[in-house]
């Protein structure tokens, strides 16, 4: 594949450019780590109190805060072009649509399943 080694002038001139990437300070990473551990403990502690259905939503809320921390700092989204965040958001929106529409239907027709398992 000799031709793969050839480069046009334009390429050669550009390939020597320096590009600097953003480096997250170590202190930020450690702080995020600490916050994640605290939140993990908090979500466990939350099961000691009875909040009814809110237990689930509280647990999901804490998980979402943790996920956001991981995405923003460990995964760089806070410093990167917002397009990557858009990719992530699209993924989450489509999962949510899938879950919600399927759930909506399953809950609607569940009585027909229930009637048979009881009968």
């Amino acid at each position: 594949m000799a031709h793969h080694r050839q480069h046009s002038t334009q390429t050669t001139s550009n390939s020597h450019e320096q590009f600097s990437s953003h480096v997250v300070p170590a202190s930020v990473l450690v702080a995020v780590f600490a916050a994640l551990l605290v939140l993990t403990f908090l979500s466990w502690a939350a099961t000691w109190v009875d909040l009814g259905v809110w237990n689930l939503w509280l647990a999901m809320g804490i998980a979402t805060v943790k996920a956001a921390l991981v995405a923003l700092y460990f995964m760089h989204l806070r410093y990167d072009p917002s397009f990557y965040a858009l990719v992530l958001a699209v993924a989450l929106v489509f999962v949510l649509l899938f879950v919600c529409l399927a759930l909506l239907d399953a809950v609607e027709y569940y009585p027909d399943i229930h009637a048979m398992t009881q009968g």
């Binding site: 399927a102 909506l104 027909d112």
Partner: protein
């Protein structure tokens, strides 16, 4: 006219090894073309077997279990091996970097891996055929697919692997379009075929993983008894259908969107007029891709889906019909006051317009809640999706293949022969599939080995089926004629000039066939639909 340049991507470097290890998107496209064509032959053989069985009521040439395997394999091969990859992997691979002005796709090795995965997937289909066959229908509905003793595991593995192949191609295209555009190639100047591929890529990366997890669960269900889709273990078979159609409905748009992109390239060039309403066509592709995810439940109106969900899905289904309809109007408006040349690609574009018109309009019947009830699972559905997939996507593919053939292989084919083949395909296609609308409306259920049950009230079904079977033979004859016309051009065709159609697109600026290394993009990228420069073909 000179011979095609001696050093081009087809001739240099030489040797089988240089092909099998190539990272050149053009070669990968050509290898995909050959591979998909072989799979198409396999799928057509099964189609002919099916049509022959149905030529008379009762047993004709095979038993009912064989028939069930034949229609399953026909569907699975055609969907997963042929129509899902055909346009992106063949024409997309060949054209995308050239039209973009890039040296290659963003990840050439991933691109080659995609082809190899396609081969492995195809191998698993052959294994399925050799060991036990498959009789679930291409939809793999549980609990039938978890209880049948045919080789579901091999088939599911094959489809799973093909999913990776599909994702790799799509990922490559999306990243290439984002990051490899040369100066001046703005989103507003992106050729509409690339917009189509971009929208298709979005669907492929969003939907295919859900198919993957569905098949994984199905496989584990069969091996271990996971029970998620098995009602006897507390699972839910309707949930499987939600999972399956979350992929399989958007998959229809994977098939049709790049086809619409091709039509948006062909019609302007052969009308010598800029595309009418570029922005609408471009954005509507993405709109169709995204809204297309919200309509999967229209496959389940009588499947036990709740009335509430069905109503929501029906409304969204009608919403997604609008952008497709408007695209058709935009194509017609592009032809208006043009200077239309009926070359073979344009003939196929017209065939697309008519057949896809019927396919799209009959989709409205099936999306209408009440009308869906007696039409669901009948031959009406079979006719509808063949009009969309064959009449739409495959005709667009043929338009594109005839359009870019001179660029791909450096030869002109015989126009008269190509146009007559298109005409034969058009007539035969309608002969094959239009009777299915009538029989379906009158109640003929799909996947029926024998229609004797209906003959008492509908004696004319025998005639319709004979019509369809003869049409099927003619349709295959049309495909063969089309293929012979193209293949014979490789030896007997006139060498193609760089730009035989006088098209303004970037891909026509390189020689035909292009050199191994794509030419650098021009200093200033122009409008891909600018015909003002009078780019009439020099030698024709």
């Amino acid at each position: 006219m000179t011979e095609p340049s001696a050093i081009n991507y087809l001739t240099y470097p030489r040797g089988l090894r240089s092909w099998l290890l190539t990272l050149d998107h053009k070669r990968i496209g050509v290898m995909y073309l050959a591979s998909v064509a072989l799979a198409l032959v396999l799928g057509l053989i099964f189609a002919l077997l099916m049509r022959t069985e149905l030529i008379a009521p009762g047993r004709t040439i095979m038993g009912e279990d064989t028939y069930n395997r034949v229609f399953t394999v026909h569907g699975a091969v055609m969907i997963f091996l042929v129509v899902i990859p055909v346009i992106p992997a063949v024409l997309g691979n060949f054209c995308l970097p050239l039209m973009l002005g890039a040296k290659d796709v963003a990840f050439p090795r991933l691109n080659l891996a995609s082809l190899y995965l396609w081969w492995v997937g195809a191998l698993f289909f052959l294994i399925t055929l050799a060991f036990g066959g498959l009789d679930t229908g291409w939809t793999f509905y549980t609990p039938y697919s978890t209880t049948t003793n045919t080789n579901v595991l091999a088939a599911v593995t094959g489809v799973f692997i093909l999913g990776f192949s599909s994702i790799f191609t799509a990922l490559n295209f999306i990243v290439s379009i984002h990051t490899l555009r040369p100066p001046g190639m703005t989103w507003r100047r992106l050729p509409l075929f690339l917009w189509g591929l971009y929208a298709t890529g979005l669907i492929q990366v969003l939907a295919t993983p859900v198919l993957g997890v569905t098949l994984l669960l199905l496989a584990v269900e069969r091996i271990l008894g996971l029970g998620i889709f098995d009602s006897s273990l507390g699972g839910d078979p309707v949930l499987f259908q939600h999972f399956f159609w979350f992929y399989a409905h958007p998959a229809v748009y994977i098939v049709i969107l790049p086809g619409m992109g091709i039509i948006s390239e062909v019609i302007p060039v052969f009308s010598r007029k800029p595309i009418f309403g570029y922005r609408f066509i471009a954005y509507s592709s993405v709109a169709i891709a995204l809204i297309g995810f919200l309509v999967w439940g229209h496959h389940m109106f009588v499947a036990g889906q709740s009335v509430l969900a069905s109503t929501i899905f029906s409304a969204l289904t009608f919403a997604v019909a609008i952008p497709s309809a408007v695209k058709v109007f935009n194509w017609l408006a592009t032809m208006y006051k043009g200077s239309i040349e009926l070359a073979a690609p344009m003939v196929y574009a017209l065939v697309f317009l008519f057949l896809f018109g019927i396919g799209g309009l009959t989709g409205l019947f099936l999306g209408t809640l009440s009308v869906n009830v007696p039409l669901h699972n009948t031959h009406f559905v079979v006719a509808h999706f063949h009009y969309v997939i064959v009449g739409g996507a495959v005709m667009a593919m043929l338009a594109g293949l005839h359009y870019w053939w001179p660029k791909m292989f450096g030869r002109m084919y015989n126009q008269t022969w190509a146009r007559l083949s298109a005409l034969l395909i058009f007539v035969a296609f309608n002969m094959t599939f239009f009777p299915l609308f009538i029989m379906g409306g009158r109640g003929l259920v799909r996947r029926y080995y024998d229609y004797s049950v209906f003959l008492e009230t509908n004696p004319e079904f025998t005639f319709y089926n004979q019509l369809a079977s003869v049409g099927g033979y003619l349709l295959v004859a049309g495909f063969v004629s089309m293929a012979l016309c193209l293949i014979s051009s490789l030896w007997r065709g006139r060498p193609a000039p760089a730009n035989p159609w006088g098209a303004p697109g970037l891909e026509w600026q390189s020689s035909s066939p292009p050199p191994p290394e794509n030419p650098p993009p021009p200093v200033q990228v122009g409008d891909p639909y600018d015909f003002s420069e009078a780019l009439l073909p020099s030698g024709t």
